[in-house]
């Protein structure tokens, strides 16, 4: 099925339309349609159709058409995500992480990057079908558009006394304006961290989520905290975590990461040691740890929890590293969090790996205040309510009935979502790319957001709306005025405004001081929960891509798979294979999960390594008023989809499990989703050395550990080619490539890859990769140029071979490795030789290039590629929605139906970098060209560079003993190589065995072929 799109010519404002017309004519690559028309004319024998170019009347200062500019800004995700917005000809086309901001350091989450979708989401607002509308284009009264004057007049009176319900608002200017409005302000987070703040209020007298420093920790222990994926500040934490685990710069050791968890999270996948613990047992384990650290049964008897040995080892380690340990917990149980505080206090982590002076404000929600508000609403005590930047009808069970009792309901937001649909007035907000805003994600770390595009519609920024209702004086239509005035008076303190805007932030968080007294009495022993046998417990978690549901209408994110199960376009109940056997279900079968709070129906997903008896469901799906994507990408003929009302997944907030695991009954419905869309379906490596791994101990003995592959050793290999022949230009036969100038290549550090998918989204946006929809993904026709393969370790049989069940692992407690896979840019590329029209060929700089205009779509190349990274355009995708097209990168061709495509190693960025250097008569500096996936990676696991440049980092990494080429035995000589994954845990028996065998082979090899210097580049010379 092709994506359903509407041509929204009529919806587009006149100015924008004119601009689009002008831009599209001016830059011919923008509208393929025009190009096709011109070509048709050519074939018809006429001269070229007249194409028009309409320059602007006045040239904007410092802006040249065709040149991209980057602006420092911030997005609302995670309480202020610092970004660079790449703007071309007045429209944002790509989001990068802010390279200097401490919360980003260049890393950028998939969600932040995909936020562009919401800006250009143009579906008709007055669509007849309820809930499928896109961005609202004007203020609304119910479902009718009104003028701003009318809305202001009607609302101004009530707004002042209204209760304000928002998500986390931490911007200093915004907070001040909301305060001026006068009403009570309640904040809540759909996925809350309220318990952590609560616990610190009790034990330290500071009700706040602290600022964690994973980079300072030698021992990281996490109890169900998915800190690399979604917890509090994942991008910042990933950067910090990676700092302690990098082995590329001569480090001799790395931090150890231990995870205790029920479901199998992405963070658990990256952990060195992972213990499977049902959420209901967490209390007992924490009690045990705290008792052992205290040296007495201070917190009561922990009872039997099945992890006695793990706890003993953990306590010994904590005692050994002391203040270099960091223990975090994702629980929403305040008592458990207090125990965590006790453990961290006992090790001395406060002040070292945990900072309380400059605490986090990324999650300011207060669950208690929310429940008080709902009670008040139900009691009729709230007569008017303003809802801003949150969607409580969707994600707070029971809110809808309470809302009905409020007399005046005002919604401030961009979409007519579930909450907006229940409200009387909608004061339509600008998109976040269109307005000034400010954030303070960490106390004292002031971050500024500036507009990157002129407003597309007749909307008004929220801060202006509130200021107007509050009667604050400011220049009408200028939200900058409000932000700037506040910053000049309170934050800048003599600093230049324009320089601050340029930098995007002011960091004064280091100046914070304060002492916090430990109050041990606040920590109490906890009631240890127990699940009756025969019952399952269900946990809900923030989905990795969609998040809390705010971005449920985002095609890019829906098509990006869940890192653990690789399922996309739905949420699912993941459970261990043993649990599935007990229930008698298979992957794709629908089950109904019932809890005391509600029920949902979702497909089952097999999750090896999940704790038996724990069922995990992702939040953020099943929205009814999200937009056309959330409704349009289904299987038209699948009964399961029809029954589901064409929602994507189901709303797991209904289970009421946000506060912690709840007991549930899980019943198979008898229906199945046999066409579950998955990006890859293979769990196991089946004993092939694809994702090589070893342990820190063995690596210390010899850095070749895990990488003794004979095929990676230098020496003559059998080749189809006469490799002594000189390369002749344009001739694909007989060659020995020698590169006079650059030789581009990439190294991927598998030790750092967390599987977060930021690179996948970065690539999608940079390279105009279409969203193909659920049906097409199921047919294995996804278009992603980069994918992350998730491999589970297998149980080994007597013979040392895996006991895998075909492509599925049998291991009850497997380890996971993530492997980004894109075009390997082979020197002896198998795709090049089979192309009948030489549409794919080798470039002078080591890239395997694809000329789309030459491709005739035989798909021989994809068939011959052992890495399976080539993608075929089965349809003419998308590109009839003109507003959505504004997000396209004009430096990349928009591929047509019938054309093969694949990773180009961001050729456009390489050429731009070369041009920039040449302009100044310099050689390309190492690191000056950053390809899209590398640039967004929050752990810097992807390194790109010139393999010919001896001073480059990649030159060094190519000679690292951990370096290996994928499927080296085929002698394709890839330009992309990988670094062995090193785990910081005790070596397993088979690892020891293969290490000693490898050492022996190495010794022999050196004896009989002394020229084999194992320290030089493997498999390349």
């Amino acid at each position: 099925m092709k994506i359903k799109t509407q041509t929204n010519d009529s919806d587009m404002p006149a100015e924008l339309k004119a601009e689009v017309e002008q831009v599209s004519r001016q830059r011919r690559d923008f509208m393929k349609v025009t190009g096709m028309a011109a070509m048709a004319a050519t074939i018809a024998g006429c001269t070229a159709d007249d194409r028009l170019v309409k320059p602007l009347l006045e040239k904007p200062e410092n802006i040249t058409p065709g040149v991209s500019y980057h602006y420092a800004s911030a997005l609302r995700d995670l309480g202020g995500s610092p970004v660079f917005v790449k703007v071309r000809d007045g429209r944002p086309i790509k989001i990068e992480g802010h390279p200097r901001h401490p919360l980003s350091r260049g890393g950028c989450s998939a969600r932040s990057q995909a936020a562009l979708w919401d800006l250009y989401d143009s579906a008709n607002a007055d669509s007849e079908e309820e809930g499928r509308a896109g961005r609202l284009k004007a203020p609304m009264k119910g479902s009718k558009e009104v003028k701003w004057d009318e809305l202001d007049k009607a609302v101004a009176g009530t707004a002042k006394s209204a209760v304000i319900l928002t998500g986390t608002v931490n911007g200093p200017a915004m907070t001040t304006v909301l305060k001026a409005l006068g009403g009570k302000h309640v904040m809540y987070d759909a996925v809350s961290a309220s318990a952590i703040a609560e616990a610190h209020g009790a034990t330290h007298g500071q009700r706040a989520v602290p600022h964690y420093r994973f980079d300072r920790a030698d021992l990281i222990v996490s109890f169900d905290a998915d800190f690399l994926g979604t917890w509090v500040s994942p991008i910042e934490f990933s950067k910090q975590w990676a700092k302690g685990r990098d082995l590329k710069n001569g480090e001799t050791t790395m931090s150890q990461h231990i995870q205790f968890e029920g479901r199998f999270s992405m963070t658990g996948g990256s952990a060195d040691i992972r213990h499977r613990v049902a959420d209901s047992k967490r209390g007992a384990i924490l009690t045990d740890v705290a008792n052992k650290l205290a040296g007495s049964k201070l917190f009561g008897d922990a009872g039997k929890h099945g992890q006695e040995k793990a706890v003993e080892e953990l306590v010994a380690k904590l005692n050994a590293v002391k203040s270099k340990a960091l223990v975090v917990c994702g629980s929403q149980n305040v008592d458990e969090q207090k125990l965590i505080n006790f453990i961290n206090h006992q090790t001395g982590a406060y002040g070292n790996t945990i900072e309380l002076t400059n605490y986090s404000q990324q999650k300011l929600g207060n669950d208690k205040e929310l429940s008080v508000l709902i009670k008040d609403m139900n009691d009729g005590k709230v007569s008017s309510l303003i809802v801003y930047d949150c969607n409580p009808v969707y994600n707070v069970p029971g809110f809808k009935t309470a809302l009905a009792k409020v007399k005046t309901k005002i919604y401030v937001g961009t979409h007519r979502d579930e909450t907006a649909a229940e409200c009387d007035w909608i004061a339509t907000d600008h998109n976040e790319f269109e307005q000034w805003a400010d954030y303070e994600p960490i106390k004292g770390m002031f971050t500024l957001a500036q507009p990157a595009i002129r407003p597309l519609y007749k909307t008004r920024p929220a801060i202006e709306t509130f200021a107007k209702w509050a009667g604050i004086e400011f220049t009408a239509g200028d939200s900058k005025d409000l932000v700037k005035k506040h910053w000049e008076a309170n934050i800048l303190k003599g600093r230049s405004w324009s320089k601050t805007v340029e930098a995007g932030f002011i960091d004064t968080s280091g100046n914070a001081t304060g002492t916090f007294n430990w109050d041990g009495r606040a920590v109490t022993s906890i009631r240890i929960g127990e699940v009756k046998s025969g019952k399952l417990e269900v946990v809900t978690y923030e989905s990795y891509n969609i998040g809390d549901g705010r971005m449920c209408n985002n095609g890019w994110l829906h098509e990006t798979p869940d890192p653990m199960t690789r399922i996309c376009w739905t949420n699912f109940a993941s459970m261990s294979p043993a649990t599935m056997d007990d229930l008698g279900v298979e992957t794709g079968d629908f089950v109904t999960i019932k809890t005391g709070s509600g029920e949902i129906t979702v497909p089952v997903a097999r999750q090896p390594g999940a704790t038996d008896g724990v069922v995990a469901v992702g939040l953020g799906f099943g929205r009814t008023h999200a937009g056309r994507i959330a409704h349009g990408m289904h299987f038209e003929d699948d009964a399961a989809d029809v029954d589901n009302g064409y929602k994507i997944g189901d709303n797991a907030y209904n289970l009421g499990a946000q506060g912690g695991a709840v007991v549930a009954t899980v019943d198979p419905t008898g229906k199945a989703y046999h066409r579950l869309a998955r990006i890859s379906t293979h769990d196991s490596q089946e004993a092939r050395p694809l994702l090589k791994s070893s342990t820190l101990d063995l690596w210390k003995k010899d850095q070749h550990a895990g990488n003794f592959d004979v095929f990676n050793q230098p020496g003559k290999k059998i080749s189809l080619w006469n490799e002594d022949d000189e390369n002749t230009h344009g001739d694909n036969v007989g060659r020995a490539w020698h590169y006079n100038g650059h030789k581009w290549g990439m190294v991927i550090d598998q030790n750092l890859c967390t599987g977060c998918n930021a690179c996948v989204t970065a690539c999608n946006l940079e390279n105009n990769i279409p969203v193909v929809g659920k049906d097409e993904v199921w047919r294995r026709r996804e278009m992603h140029w980069i994918r992350i393969d998730t491999y589970y370790s297998d149980e080994l049989g007597e013979d040392g071979m895996p006991a895998s069940n075909g492509d599925l692992t049998k291991h009850p407690d497997p380890e996971v490795g993530f492997q980004p896979m894109m075009c390997q840019h082979c020197e002896n590329a198998p795709c090049e030789t089979v192309c009948p029209v030489i549409a794919t060929s080798h470039s002078d700089e080591g890239l395997n290039v694809q000329a789309y205009n030459r491709c005739i779509g035989t798909r021989y190349c994809a068939n011959n590629c052992p890495y399976k990274v080539r993608r075929f355009n089965w349809f003419q995708y998308r590109h009839d929605d003109q507003t959505m097209n504004l997000s396209l990168n004009p430096d990349i061709t928009i591929r047509s139906q019938g054309v093969m495509e694949k990773c180009s190693m961001c050729a456009q960025r390489i050429y731009a970098g070369k041009r920039e250097a040449a302009k100044h008569g310099q050689k390309v500096e190492d690191g000056s060209i950053r390809v899209a996936c590398q640039s967004s990676c929050p752990t810097d696991a992807i390194i790109f560079g010139d393999q010919n440049d001896e001073s480059s980092f990649i030159y060094k990494l190519d000679r690292d003993k951990r370096n290996y080429a994928m499927l080296a035995e085929l002698n394709f000589r890839p330009g992309v190589t990988y670094l062995t994954k090193i785990r910081n845990r005790k070596s397993l028996e088979h690892e020891e065995k293969s290490f000693s065998t490898g050492m022996a082979i190495m010794k022999l090899a050196n004896k009989y072929a002394p020229t084999m210097d194992t320290t030089t580049k493997q498999g390349r010379e």
Binding site: A18, R25, Q26, R27, R28, D29, K32, G35, A38, I43, A44, G45, C46, T47, A48, D50, R51, L52, V53, K54, P55, L56, L57, E58, K59, T64, P65, G66, V67, H729, G730, N740, G741, H742, S841, H842, S843, D844, E845, L847, V849, A851, N853, D891, I892, T893, I894, S904, A907, Q908, Y911, K914, R915, A917, A918, G921, Q922, K923, V924, N948
Partner: protein, 207 residues
């Protein structure tokens, strides 16, 4: 025998149907592609390159400001015209009534939201040509003069396409200069810098 007949049949069929389908010009175009050399559309404003660049000796970059910064040479904003022709009646105006009328047209267009020029040089969508690369970086930073590709604009009235802009035409020049560079090898710090030689790989223009 049969095969030969088949081929003959195909050729004849094509010979008869193609002119009907695509017009009689198509065969001519396919066999001898002139690719619009000499294309000179009528423009909405009677602008003369001969007068401005020739007689008055103005720099190309005065109007085509993007030519050494961007992929696009860019067309001048009407405000640029008004730098000289600032007054619709008494500014730098032509001596003849025709040229006076032309200046009035500029002002009219400015008030009516601009002027849509007809594009003279039309590369297909899948060709990524950068003016900046050729004007500023090529030839080790010397760049090519505009005349190399556009002909002597200072001697033309209305702009027209000088060369055929075919891939063969591009590659010809790329190959010549590539050989030059191989002989010369542009060095910095004793190493070839490798980023000024013209690239002959597909991805230089197609990505």
């Amino acid at each position: 025998m049969n095969a030969k007949l088949g081929v003959l049949f195909l050729v004849l069929t094509a010979g008869f149907t193609m002119p009907v389908l695509f017009g009689f010009g198509s065969i001519n175009d396919m066999m001898w592609p002139n690719l619009h050399t000499g294309y000179q559309p009528d423009q909405p404003l009677p602008f003369s390159h001969r007068l401005h660049a020739g007689n008055l000796g103005m720099d190309c970059e005065y109007c085509h400001t993007g030519s050494d910064e961007s992929r696009h040479a860019t067309l001048p904003n009407l405000s640029t015209c008004k730098n000289c022709h600032w007054d619709r009646d008494t500014g730098v105006a032509g001596k003849t009534s025709d040229s006076k009328a032309a200046i009035l047209l500029i002002h009219d267009a400015y008030e009516n939201g601009g002027v849509a020029w007809k594009r003279v040089h039309n590369n297909p969508d899948f060709v990524y040509f950068s003016h900046m690369t050729h004007t500023r970086i090529a030839r080790d930073g010397e760049g090519f003069s505009c005349e190399t590709c556009h002909g002597e604009m200072s001697k033309k009235g209305v702009a027209h396409q000088e060369h055929d802009l075919s891939m063969g035409w591009c590659i010809d020049c790329h190959r010549t200069w590539n050989e030059e560079y191989e002989k010369k090898a542009v060095m910095r710090d004793g190493k070839p810098i490798g980023n000024v030689a013209p690239v002959n790989s597909c991805d230089a223009c197609h990505r």
